[in-house]
Amino acid sequence: MLKQLEGSVAIAETVAYCRPEVVCAYPITPQTHIVEGVGALVKSGVLSNCEFINVESEFAALSVAIGASAAGARAYTATASQGLLFMAEAVYNAAGLGLPIVMTIGNRAIGAPINIWNDHSDSMALKDAGWIQLFAESNQEAVDLHIQAFRLAEELSCPVMVCVDGFILTHAYERIDVPTQEEVDAFLPPFEPVQVLDPTEPYSIGAMVGPEAFTEVRYLGHQKQLQALHLIPEIAKVFQDVFGRETGGLVHPYRTENAETMIVALGSINGTIKDVVDAMRESGTAIGSIGVCSFRPFPLEALAKALDGAKRVIVVEKSLAPGLGGMLTSDVRMSLLRQAIPVHTVIAGLGGRPVTGVSLTAAFELAVNDQLEDVHFLDLDHAAIEHEVERSRLTRKSGPTAENILRRLGSGV
């Protein structure tokens, strides 16, 4: 049903229609509205047969979900930023145990310096924990991906993160087609756990595994991700049959026909990128873009195919591997192992810095003219950097960097 809703509220409603039996959460901006929304639906009775637990930390939240899932319940939680990092140990644990938990990430930067705004540093920090990571481009996709995520998680016995850009999506009011309970029920069957508490066969999970079998267990986790590469498009297809919408899948190519310049990115920034692609196409540049929806598993083949024939690739990233550049870039390069296409990184939108079409256009034009650096920081304040470097060179005990940069900006020096 079409509704004008805040992204978080739409996600909450959708999650409720997925009938989780245990929901556990600790609040953190910008995730709070999502879990509060689910709580309100538990209270109003829309979501019945659900234990909603307010826990003392994120570590507890995911640990509760792990316990519930191990006992055969459909479990859901959500977090962001510091909260995701705080639960890191449990994140690996859930994947290692093959528990089909679904977790929303309201993507937000990681401190220090503390910052509540959007970037992808949080989920990137846990990209290789063995979870599936799906990135939503819009709130409609965020809603749809949650329904698909439960099915995917349960078919594969693998936890899934649905990554939703904090504020940009979580707090935006949009026209969203929120499915009805009946529609979700038609797509998502009741959870049939592979792991149940069977009184005829009680057993312990979480065994210590030594060098004799650890690699094999890890290999099976790897294989599961490879399996997901097939399952994700299949589930997206079934979803389309039921809901009449094309969402999810591995990658979203946009105007890629004969494109010499290709942009690759994750999440909501693809909206701005598409606008830029339209404008540059209009003025005669052969440019197209690819939104990566499934970041884990990484669609190496699908991407290699979609990028085939391009002269250059620009990866726009909302996270940074210091000293290296981009994390998505490394994966894109991996997909191009057999194609000699230069790949540039544009680091953009860190800590919520707005990414404008104007700045992106400038960067893409540099690339078209073969003038873009390998790693380019969009809208970097070079004067601030130089000032800080010089100050710390001159001052023996130069003090905290972030505070000094802020002080300088505040004083307008």
Binding site: I28, T32, E36, G39, N54
Partner: protein
């Protein structure tokens, strides 16, 4: 330089230029005032005081002081403070926290900080809610307090920080109300002077998400009996009181944690060493 030689201070010497962004009427304003007044009485120069916090409205306090401030991550203020104190035993360390920061996500550290008994003062501005994330229940919230994140209330029995502090080995335990600036100041001075780990719970209303807490000022009363040095007796009293008696409730005699880091701050020879070429 002049500040280094100063021996007497005004409350304003401990305040930075940053304007607090707390909601008008928030109890934390009073806590800030009491802290500065207590420091005046203690006569410790601002640069000899470290104010350490986690994350929350209450945890913004270091930025509003002129002391050495440290705004850590959510829930970790106590180990941060302990690290600072053992590295620089000469500093007066005040760890400032909220009931969420200190008792939820940082709850484990609370137990062990009491046990460790490092000489520092732990102030928790308890408003029985997470203010910063806009109104979710904390461990000290009443079980029937309804919110979106606790549909119909948590149904859980509240955490009793003072008793837990006693049971875990804190050496000084007090409760205050933010609106009682005189009483809070007096207790903070004593808490800082008392050796070992001093815990002061300050009831500090969140007027925005717990407007009912405005009534606290009418419910507060002085503790009916003198503080004791017997933890069992103190615990019994605290467990059976109405939660609103304020003042020092326990003064212990446990030996504080002994730090082995050489105290370099006051030793000119060691300071000069650093500048030798």
């Amino acid at each position: 330089m002049t500040q280094l030689q100063k021996t007497s201070f005004k409350a304003s010497d401990y305040r930075s230029d940053n304007t607090p962004i707390w909601c008008p009427g928030c109890g934390d304003f009073h806590v800030l005032l009491s802290i500065t007044k207590a420091l005046v009485e203690l006569g410790t120069a601002p640069e000899n005081v470290a104010v350490v916090s986690g994350i929350g409205c209450s945890s913004r306090i270091p930025a509003y002081t002129n002391c050495y401030g440290f705004h850590g991550v959510h829930g970790r203020s106590l180990p941060l403070g302990a690290g600072l104190k053992v590295a620089r035993p000469d500093l007066t360390v005040m760890v400032m926290s909220g009931d969420g920061d200190g008792f939820s996500i940082g709850g484990n550290h609370f137990l062990h900080a009491c046990r460790r008994n490092v000489d520092m003062t732990y102030v928790v501005m308890d408003n029985r809610v997470y203010g910063m994330t806009k109104g979710q229940p904390s461990p000290t919230t009443e079980p029937d307090w309804d919110s979106a994140l606790s549909p119909g209330g948590t149904g859980l029995s509240p955490f009793h920080p003072l008793v837990i502090a006693l049971a875990s080995g804190a050496n000084f335990v007090a409760r205050e109300f933010s609106g009682d600036i005189k009483g809070t100041t007096r207790t903070l001075v004593e808490a800082v002077r008392h050796p070992g780990f001093s815990f002061v719970e300050i009831l500090s209303p969140c007027v925005t998400f717990r407007p009912d807490e405005r009534a606290w000022k009418t419910q507060i009363h002085a503790a009916p009996v003198e503080a004791t040095d017997d933890p069992a007796r103190a615990a019994r009293r605290i467990m059976t009181d109405d939660g609103f008696n304020v003042g020092v409730l326990y003064r212990g005699n446990r030996k504080p944690y002994n730090t082995h880091v050489k105290d370099t701050a006051g030793d000119p020879a060691i300071l000069e060493e650093e500048f030798e070429i």
